[in-house]
Amino acid sequence: MRRLMCLLACVAVAAAGCEREARRYTELPAAANRSTAVRLTMLQPGSPQPLSNVQSPYQYNAYGLSEGKRLYAAYNCAGCHGLNGGGAIGPALTDDKWIYGSHADQLFSTISQGRPDGMPSFGGHIPDQQIWQLVAYVQSLAGMVSQDAATSRNDDQAAAKPENRIEDARQIQTGHR
């Protein structure tokens, strides 16, 4: 029994490791194929339908997160949201406040559609796959992805905690600071 448990644990670790190391250069996994409408609010008329549970296909994927970090700089997300997500022209991405939602599909639509108060619309300008990589990286800035897969260091000036050491912002209590 003990052996079996050990074997299962090894398999589980190996499987997780596979996902962490997976390289997906072109295809999008099923999770990214969104059929449900994105909701930006919890409030619904009548009986609420469950919120969709779409996750970024790169939430556990080191390569995708690393690409997200590269694209975050290359597409000048960093110029508005801070090199490490602390915010500047645009809001901080490292805290527990999400104007348009922190769910992966909400972030995807925010990046793709843009938002009227200043967020540019990147849809049609960059591939969907890259948007999903950015979604995963943005979530990592708030500690919302696997710490095993999150990027671990800046190539440039270290001015904030590395992404794999950021506390899950959803755990931050909004009371006393």
């Binding site: 801070g82 490490n84 809001p91 901080a92 490292t94 009227p116 904030a160």
Partner: protein, 620 residues
């Protein structure tokens, strides 16, 4: 008419005791409009509405800098060193806007005007009635999308009055004129394009029937310009770019810069690599001054883009410097570059205060500039020759100016490099002083400078140009300069080139300054609005506003004949965005570097725009 010499007859005795020179035309003092006509009956058009005449009336405040010489000095003296302790609030007004309030109220006749940060609503208040109710409001409904390309909070630095009309700009790039009496729209001209990263935050200036407007967007790879519009119909008269060929910069045969390095054909192209001048910055988001006698307009050009200097070898003309131009045609007369090949985001847009000083044995018509690079320049405004350039704050990134060549003397070990973090560069990118305008008193001959004490760590990074997105290429972290205080308020003697007195402030002093006779006013980011003795710097009065003060204080005489001091509170602006935009200072680069310096600002103040009007007469 010399605008910088106020009520010169009364001032004659003082002239003898200071080095400030009364100019000849001062012998004919400006008529005191207040004593001739009751304010409510004062006409808003005709000769008295001419901007240069109006600016001489200390009862009114018709442009942000008070006058064309940008002195921010009023001789009103009801509020004095003796009674300022009794000063209290006369009335307040909530703007309902929670971004940084950098704009000043204006007073024309019996009406006060205030333009808010985005959404740039222009209010008119009736000063004849208790509590100064709203007379009218004009809402230009600027695009929210413009907020996404405004580098440093969504500020507006004010409106200007001339000839019965108000002129102001919107964040989404429009210049607008409305009738001052009714608030009715006169014209709207779209000038800037947010999809190229352009916004407009500056206060225009009106000279001889033209409105001068410059763009913002130096962190977005825009190409800087100053545009002249016809004040009557808003049509564009001319546009002068800050980069590119001479014909675009309006450089012609009458361009006679003082230094060799500014002479040559198409330097706005040849001092850049390839086509980099097209995205080279040099925006015009700061202040303009005007000398009616010389008939020259003076203004500065902002930083070159991107910040990463390794991507733009060369002197990057005509960024980070100042132009003298003809207001009629726009043709350039001279240029001086405060920061050739700027390394540190040291925009050259700070205000240029015009005065006549006795220097080097003679009377000199000068302009004075407290620059981002930490030097207080005194420059001959006829020629562009630097007479002196002295550090007014801790500086280790330059060794002053070579007065033979006019060139800033660089310190190579403090020069940023791509991929390398250079530590402890002073001053930081926001400079020893940023936009916050200083004041000049002809009584004391001193400049009153609100400014910063900041250093930084800077790493150049490759910047990719994507239109409408930031084009910076730098990882920067600011920190307090020597002594640990992040701000100063300094009284500076421009002739002796040294401070007379200095007040340390915990945070950068991001408000403008005002001299009201013997009193100097300024605000702090914690929300204190202070009155100090212009001669000694002694704190005489302070009031804690509801939010940090980064606005421009002004003074006026109300229809009741009493003097009032007014300022808008409301934290924000580039540093205050830590609070107004709720940034996360755990990222030291937040706000493009302020996270490192202002992590404690959120516990010092909260956001909220409020206009305060103070009086010693009890108010109404």
């Amino acid at each position: 008419m010399k605008l910088w010499a106020h009520r010169c007859v009364a001032r004659a005795a003082l002239v003898a005791t200071t080095s400030f020179l009364a100019t000849t035309s001062c012998n004919k003092p400006a008529p005191d409009v207040r004593s001739e006509t009751p304010p409510s009956a004062r006409p808003l058009s005709g000769a008295m509405a001419d901007p240069s005449r109006l600016a001489q009336d200390d009862g009114q405040w018709t442009m942000p800098a008070k006058n064309y010489a940008a002195t921010r000095f009023t001789a009103l003296d009801e509020i004095s060193t003796g009674n300022v302790k009794q000063m209290g609030v006369a009335w307040t007004f909530s703007t309902g806007v929670t971004a940084g309030h950098e704009g000043p109220p204006l007073v024309v006749g019996d009406t006060m005007y205030l333009v808010t940060p985005w959404p740039n609503i222009l209010y008119a208040f009736d000063l004849t009635k208790p509590g100064a109710p709203i007379r009218w409001q004009y809402d230009p409904k600027p695009l929210g999308a413009a907020k996404g390309v405004a580098c440093c909070d969504i500020v507006n630095r004010g409106a200007v009055f001339a000839n019965g009309a108000l002129f102001f700009n919107t964040l989404d790039g429009r210049a607008i004129s409305v009738d001052a009496a009714t608030g009715k729209e006169r014209w709207v001209t779209q000038l800037a394009d947010i999809n190229r990263g352009e916004t407009i935050t500056m206060a225009p200036l009106v000279v001889k029937g033209k409105v001068f407007v410059g763009n913002s967007g130096g962190e977005f790879g825009v190409r800087g310009w100053l545009t002249a519009l016809d004040a009557g119909d808003g049509s564009v008269a001319w546009r002068a770019y800050s980069t590119g060929p001479d014909k675009d910069v309006l450089i012609g045969p009458n361009f006679t810069p003082h230094y060799d390095s500014d002479r040559g054909k198409d330097l706005g192209i040849t001092t850049w690599p390839g086509e980099a001048w097209r995205t080279g910055g040099g925006t015009v988001w700061g202040w303009l001054s005007y000398d009616p006698e010389a008939d020259l307009l003076y203004y500065g050009t902002a930083n070159p883009g991107p910040w990463n200097p390794d991507q733009r070898p060369g002197d990057n003309k005509w960024t980070a410097g100042m132009f003298a131009r003809s207001p009629d045609t726009g043709e350039a007369r001279w240029f001086y570059q405060t920061s050739p090949h700027d390394l540190f985001d040291h925009d050259g847009v700070n205000e240029l205060v015009l005065a006549d000083l006795r220097m080097n044995g003679g009377a000199r018509k000068v302009l004075m500039r407290a620059d981002r690079n930490g030097l207080l320049y005194v420059i001959d405004r006829s020629t562009g020759e630097v007479l002196s350039a002295s550090p007014f704050a801790p500086v280790n990134s330059n060794k002053g100016v070579d007065l033979k060549t006019g060139r800033l003397i660089a310190v190579p070990e403090k020069a940023p490099k791509q991929g390398i973090v250079v530590r402890d560069i002073c001053p930081a990118a926001p400079g020893a002083k940023d936009w916050q305008p200083m004041a000049f008193s002809p009584k004391t001959g001193l400049l009153y400078i609100p400014h910063n004490n900041l250093c930084m760590d800077f790493e150049g990074m490759a910047a990719s140009y994507i239109a409408g997105t930031p084009y910076v290429g730098a990882s920067v972290v600011y920190k307090a300069g020597p002594g640990g205080n992040r701000g100063f308020f300094t009284a500076w003697d421009p002739i002796a080139a040294k401070p007379r007195w200095q007040i340390k402030e915990n945070f950068p002093v991001w408000s403008g300054a005002l001299v009201a006779n013997d009193l100097v006013f300024y605000g702090t980011m914690e929300g204190w609005f202070k009155a100090v003795d212009a001669g000694t710097g002694q704190l005489l009065w302070q009031f804690k506003c509801g939010s940090g003060v980064i606005g421009q204080p002004m003074a006026f005489k109300g229809p009741d004949g009493h003097e009032y001091i007014a300022v808008a509170a409301g934290i924000g602006g580039w540093p205050g965005a830590i609070v107004s935009a709720d940034l996360d200072p755990r990222d030291a680069t937040a706000g493009n570097g302020w996270g490192g310096a202002l992590g404690d600002l959120k516990s010092a103040t909260t956001k909220g725009g409020m206009l305060y009007v103070f009086t010693v007469s009890g108010g109404k």
